[in-house]
């Protein structure tokens, strides 16, 4: 072992001194940044004064530059870890690109939602077509053999409706609302339908196969029900009963299916993108559409729970149903044209 070299120790001390002063001089900035971050993460940025708000990006850059210096010159791993976590928090906050809540809601209704739905037009067509195929198949199956009705519609849902029910009973189902429980029923229908829609969306992940089946089966149930009423000469009446909320609800479920199909097909055929990026792109469009779908289902639930039970005139029912459908189509597909014309 060699004897201690005084000169060497002194040179080491000089490095130690300069790093200590680096920390001493910057520490106040770090602490200030940390305190500010803690405040803005808890409360809205509105609570900051203008001066504090302006100092945020400056303090962030100061923390980043400190991190670079520390990484290059310091071996204090606790210090580097602290600066890394501080910079990361600052980065997430400052580059979070957040819009205000009101702005975000306005953007959603003005741009994001109709844009997403328009973007899905091809899948929507397929989804609607599948539903019609399902309706046709359901009606044809029940017409050829009554036994199919029980196979297609679960007995709990049928509630006595069936090929063997009398015309009077079927009619009473269409016009007698059980008035006691209306709005509760609407809330229940809304949550139930949203879960079905989410399922149609989420199952699209498996290359869209389950979503296609779900759409077909949904149509099948409708077709089977329709055939039963049609056979008793109540087809028009059932149409009114369904139309008042069904145009909104079925359209919403078709859109949810379209969103699911978009994801499934993009994963199967990503095109020029990598599979992951394609999935991520599709996922974002589809998610926006899905929020819109739940808004539509809220309307459908209200119409079904309240409107259908209190309005018993066929003409009004048809009018409301068609009106709603026209409203949605106008909003999704024509709204853009009008806005462009105004610009």
């Amino acid at each position: 072992m060699t004897a201690p070299v005084p000169g060497d120790a002194r040179r080491g001390d000089a490095v130690r001194q300069s790093l200590a002063s680096f920390r001493r001089e910057r520490e106040a900035d770090w602490k200030a940044f940390e305190a500010l971050l803690a405040r803005v993460e808890k409360r809205a940025p509105r609570t900051l004064s203008e001066e504090e708000l302006l100092s945020l990006p400056l303090l962030y850059r100061s923390a980043l530059s400190s991190l670079s210096v520390a990484r290059a010159t310091s071996l204090d791993s606790a210090l580097i870890a602290y600066l890394e976590s501080l910079s990361l928090r600052g980065y997430f906050y400052l580059y979070g690109a957040r819009r205000g809540l009101r702005q975000r809601i306005a953007d959603f209704f003005l741009h994001d939602w109709p844009d997403a739905i328009r973007d899905l037009w091809r899948e929507t067509l397929v989804s609607v077509a599948l539903m019609f195929v399902g309706i046709g198949a359901g009606a044809w199956l029940v017409a050829s053999d009554k036994g199919w009705f029980d196979a297609i519609i679960p007995s709990g849902l049928a509630a006595g409706r069936g090929p063997d029910a009398s015309a009077e009973m079927l009619r009473s189902m269409l016009y007698d609302g059980d008035n006691g429980f209306l709005s509760g029923f609407a809330a229940y229908l809304f949550t139930h339908n949203v879960q079905v829609a989410i399922l149609a969306f989420a199952l699209g992940f498996a290359f869209a196969v389950p979503t296609v089946l779900l759409m077909l089966f949904n149509g099948c149930m409708l077709g089977a029900l329709f055939q039963v009423y049609w056979a008793k000469g109540l087809g028009m009446e059932l149409g009114g009963w369904l139309a008042i909320h069904g145009t909104t609800e079925l359209f919403a479920i078709a859109l949810a299916g379209a969103a699911g199909m978009r994801i499934g097909t993009r994963i199967a055929f990503p095109g020029e993108l990598t599979r992951m990026t394609a999935a991520a792109h599709a996922g974002r469009t589809a998610a926006t559409a899905m929020v819109g779908v739940s808004v539509m289902l809220l309307f459908a639930g209200l119409l079904e729970g309240i409107g259908r039970q209190t309005i018993t005139s066929d003409v009004t029912r048809y009018a409301i149903g068609t009106g709603m459908l026209a409203l949605w189509i106008g909003y999704f597909y024509l709204f853009q044209v009008v806005r462009n014309g105004n610009r």
């Binding site: 130690r16 980043l64 791993s77």
Partner: protein
């Protein structure tokens, strides 16, 4: 130790800020995320039970004529808990649910840009098929009394397939993460700790080390030493002091372990930092 470092590196991802600094995010591992999710489930279940209790008390208190508004409130509340809990919290400023916050992780966009609301929605709607669907299949079947072994097994396989999905890809992505373009990273809150080499210790001043003694170790060992000193466990300090003392040919008294290590840490760090400044990074003791 090499394998340990490689395992740690496997979960590090570079995140380069517009300022050009690589922030090096660490992906949360599957166990951490499962723990956070379980915490959230506990919160949701507690809230659901509380809401139901309040509704039941409301029914007995107001009588059955107020049943309907209570029923509506109950249904909406449960719906919100199931679907909106995750979305609302993750769309917030901290991008994490209470469970994630406690564990110290958050959701981030994979491309480094800001996390948008539709990403949060996409990743959370997929939870429906990952968790709730298999559960409701099993629950529904057993409710009808037709839960045979086959459906239960099918449900479990399905659930496991999705639950274990994060284990089968490099980035620990859930299906929802995959679709939304997000991942979950560690975002612990750290406090600034004291600078060990600035520690004033009268006994430590008596120790002097030669150039050769300081050359015995590298940066990896320095960081281990820092860990030991910060943990401040008497027996660990003594064992480490003995090992270092043997290696550099200096034998401190047993009760001097802490000041000895403090002194050695300070000098070793200054020595290595000086080398660093001169452009030589000595990673560990094997490097010459």
């Amino acid at each position: 130790m090499a394998t340990a470092r490689r395992a740690a590196l496997a979960t590090m991802r570079s995140l380069i800020t517009p300022e050009g600094v690589d922030l090096q995010v660490k992906l949360a591992d599957a166990g951490t995320r499962a723990a956070a999710f379980l915490l959230d489930v506990v919160f949701i279940a507690t809230a659901a039970i509380a809401v139901t209790m309040v509704a039941l008390f409301g029914v007995t208190g107001f009588g059955t004529d107020r049943l309907q508004p209570l029923f509506i409130v109950w249904i909406i509340a449960i719906f919100f808990l199931r679907n909106v809990y995750f979305i609302a919290f993750e769309a917030g400023r901290r991008a994490s649910t209470p469970g994630k916050r406690i564990i110290g992780i958050r959701v981030a966009s994979r491309n480094g840009a800001g996390l948008s609301v539709d990403q949060v929605i996409a990743r959370n709607l997929m939870r429906e098929i990952e968790v709730f669907l298999p559960l409701s299949i099993i629950a529904g079947r057993s409710g009808m009394g037709v839960a045979d072994t086959l459906t239960t097994v099918f449900g479990l396989v399905w659930a496991l397939l999705f639950a274990l999905f994060p284990l089968f890809n490099r980035d620990r992505l859930r299906i929802g993460d995959l679709l939304a373009g997000t991942w979950v990273v560690e975002a612990p809150k750290r406090t600034l700790m004291e600078d060990l080499s600035a520690r004033k210790d009268p006994v430590a001043k008596t120790f002097q080390f030669s150039h050769a003694q300081l050359d015995a170790y590298g940066i990896a060992e320095l960081h281990k030493l820092e860990e030991v000193l910060r943990r401040d466990d008497y027996f660990a300090l003594r064992a480490v002091a003995e090992t270092i003392g043997r290696k550099i040919g200096s034998t401190p008294q047993a009760h001097d372990a802490r000041p000895f290590l403090t002194a050695y840490y300070g000098d070793l760090r200054a020595h290595l930092e000086r080398k660093l400044l001169l452009g030589k990074r000595k990673e560990d003791k094997h490097q010459r």
